[in-house]
């Protein structure tokens, strides 16, 4: 190669991405351009530094739990898809009774079992995951800290959802919230809402 290579070829060569004839041609050209050889060495040194210091792979914390969450999300979506009512073209109307709830297709049954673990907590290294028994879609509650357990009580019959955290570190008694402000970023709040709970109106 006698003429200067184009920028693309040069960049690929600098980053050691050329092979075969193209590489050989660039090497021949660079032999007459020591500044380019120096630039390549500089790039190599820089990349070696980066590669040596910045890990290419980092196992996510709680790796097993990481996979479990992905599996569960996939399975939940499968259940949700299985429970979706199918469109009913005339040709299959007569077999629709197979889809009725009391027959509980296997996938749906498995999914409902998953969703109705009601109060059961799976204690896995790296965090607790609870499946709240409220039906589809099942809310997910998890605590990243293995020491903390979230007890989930779904709202039913007019009650609210309550989560009781056990094992969470106490806030030191010396901590003072004296400068607490009653914050609101808008004047559109209905003050009666605040009054209902007894907390002062935001306005």
């Amino acid at each position: 190669m006698n003429t200067k290579p184009d920028d693309v070829m040069l960049a690929l060569w600098l980053d050691d991405e050329l092979h075969g004839e193209e590489f050989a041609a660039m090497e021949a050209w660079a032999a007459a351009h020591p500044e380019q050889l120096a630039a390549r060495e500089e790039t190599r040194a820089y990349r070696a530094c980066m590669a040596g210091v910045m890990p290419r792979e980092v196992e996510p914390p709680y790796a097993d739990f990481f996979n479990t969450r992905i599996r569960n999300a996939i399975q939940e979506s499968r259940v949700a898809a299985a429970l979706e009512p199918a469109p009913a073209p005339a040709a299959i109307i007569r077999v629709r009774w197979w889809r009725s709830a009391w027959l509980m297709p296997t996938a749906a049954a498995a999914g409902m079992a998953l969703a109705f673990w009601g109060g059961t907590h799976v204690n896995r290294p790296g965090g607790l995951i609870s499946y709240a028994p409220t039906g589809t879609p099942a809310p997910l509650v998890y605590t990243p800290d293995n020491e903390v357990k979230a007890n989930y009580f779904p709202g039913r019959n007019g009650s609210s959802t309550v989560i009781v955290l056990d094992g969470v570190s106490a806030i030191p008694d010396s901590t003072d919230f004296r400068e607490t402000a009653w914050n609101s970023s808008t004047s559109e709040i209905d003050s009666t809402a605040s009054n209902e709970d007894g907390a002062p109106s935001a306005n």
């Binding site: 990349r47 040596g52 210091v53 290419r56 996510p60 800290d145």
Partner: protein, 219 residues
């Protein structure tokens, strides 16, 4: 043909020779699992997750510099990948395809963080850098046994320098110089042209090299 040896997998010592990804080897290993996963085999997909979670988590964490969110986002990448599996074509490299999804996921997350004019937020309080990343809910990765204090300090300098780049420039550097993707693969992952990747990388490296010049010349 001049072959560049593949570096060792030990991220601490690192290669002394240039890093060149071995094209083809990974996709051969993955293709069987991908095919099975596309048929609905969740166990095959689980294996793919195990194989690739390290790289995806590292990439996402380097992009958003927040361990707790990176953990969630990395999972989101794999969940989205599962949903998109029917559209994955065997001729493509699975890891590159994953990086593409990671790129989109990080981009969407960054957009959602908060709107520019979201009212009177106290930016200082909500600066994610101030969130205690050493806390147990955001555990740090285990330091390699022979990592020195200096090593850790250098990594912090590099991370700080990366944080000064725009997301596009930062991603180009992460994918090229940390993950070892080729230019073509980066272009595929970032959804841009080869020329765009090259110019972004050129600019980003110039800036990084200026910031880190003292560091790597004395090592």
């Amino acid at each position: 043909m001049n072959k560049i040896p593949r570096p060792t997998s030990n991220p601490v010592t690192g290669p002394l020779e240039p890093v060149v990804p071995q094209a083809g080897a990974e996709s051969d290993d993955d293709s069987v699992l991908v095919s099975r996963a596309q048929s609905g085999d969740l166990r095959a997909y689980d294996e793919l997750v195990i194989r690739h979670r390290g790289r995806i988590f590292a990439m996402v964490r380097n992009m958003i510099h927040n361990e707790a969110d990176a953990w969630d986002l990395a999972q989101e990448v794999f969940i989205k990948a599962w949903n998109a599996l029917p559209r994955f074509e065997a001729k493509a490299r699975f890891s590159t395809w994953l990086f593409r999804i990671a790129h989109n996921t990080v981009y969407d997350w960054t957009r959602k963080r908060r709107p520019e004019s979201a009212g009177e937020l106290n930016d200082e309080i909500f600066d994610r850098e101030r969130i205690d990343l050493s806390a147990s809910t955001a555990p740090s990765e285990a330091e390699a046994p022979d990592a020195s204090l200096q090593h850790g300090e250098l990594r912090r300098k590099i991370e700080a320098a990366l944080a000064k780049l725009s997301p596009e420039h930062r991603e180009a550097v992460i994918l090229k110089d940390v993950q070892g993707l080729s230019y073509k693969e980066i272009a595929d992952a970032m959804g841009c042209t080869l020329g765009t990747v090259m110019s972004r990388l050129f600019y980003a490296r110039q800036k990084l090299q200026t910031l880190l010049k003292d560091e790597y010349e004395t090592r």
